[in-house]
């Protein structure tokens, strides 16, 4: 099952568009990713992968590669959203796994 989650992340990442991105595009994408990650944080369900992807995006932006940085930021946003989704769907579902 975790393969599927990972595959899903890949799909999302692959959906990131290719055309030249500007610094503004990056900033928008990054802000969206950060907002999603903060939301995951409020649910105490952040993923390490999201954190490292955000960091990678910043690094690419610092190097002036806004195409890559924007794509990476979108990937981070998708990861953060997947973690939010996980937290939401686990809210009650954990009870199903409990030993009775």
């Amino acid at each position: 099952m975790r393969r599927l989650v990972l595959a899903a992340s890949l799909l999302i990442a692959a959906a990131a568009p290719a055309p030249a991105a500007s610094e503004a595009d990056f900033k928008t994408a990054y802000a969206a990713a950060e907002a999603a990650e903060n939301e995951a944080g409020s649910l105490r369900n952040q993923w390490i992968t999201t954190e490292t992807t955000l960091k990678a995006a910043r690094k690419q932006a610092d190097a002036g590669d806004f195409d890559a940085a924007t794509a990476t930021a979108k990937e981070a946003e998708a990861l953060a959203k997947a973690s939010i989704f996980q937290a939401t769907s686990e809210k009650d579902r954990w009870k199903d796994a409990e030993i009775h």
């Binding site: 975790r2 393969r3 990972l6 992340s9 890949l10 990442a13 992968t49 490292t52 990937e75």
Partner: protein, 162 residues
């Protein structure tokens, strides 16, 4: 992108790969050559520097060993962690003068060598590091000849165990 599905120990493997690369430097970088304590033999520096088991055995003993069922090597099938692998050897051979341990898959094969003077039993237990799955070779020197036992120990690290 690093979405490795085999993700559990990916980082660890990278670290180990890095370690392999560093191995190229060998021990040449060792700063201090110690004054050896009052021991009755000298530290076999050259043997410890050899990479391959064959070369290390040659450097330590100047000859080759024959496999012998009189050498009993005890090592786990699968090491619980490569950082601490309990390995021991006993032998029914007479006139044993030394026992040595080699790990074929390590950057330098010779791990430990023990002098066994008269009156000391020909049996040693110790804990060694293993970088990867490989053979462990125990050599017993007895009556001026070399006898060996070999066993493969599987090493895989990582996971959410423990």
């Amino acid at each position: 992108m690093s979405f490795s599905i085999e993700g559990f120990s990916a980082t660890r493997r990278l670290v180990l790969q890095g370690a392999g690369a560093v191995a190229l430097f060998g021990f040449g970088a060792l700063a201090a050559r110690p004054a050896l304590a009052a021991a009755n033999d000298t530290y076999p520096e050259a043997a410890f520097k050899q990479k391959a088991d064959k070369d290390a055995i040659q450097a330590l003993y100047g000859r080759t060993a024959d496999a012998s069922d009189k050498v009993k090597l005890d090592a786990p099938e699968i090491a619980e962690n490569g950082a601490v692998v309990p390995i021991s050897v006993t032998t029914t051979l007479e006139n044993v003068t030394s026992i040595s341990f080699f790990v074929s898959g390590n950057p330098n094969a010779l791990a430990a060598s023990y002098a066994i003077p008269e009156g000391t039993l020909p049996a040693v237990s110790n804990r060694l590091k293993m970088q990867q799955t490989s053979n462990v070779i125990a050599i017993v020197e007895a009556g001026g000849k070399l006898y060996s036992a070999t066993k493969e120990v599987k090493v895989t690290v990582g996971g959410c165990g423990g």
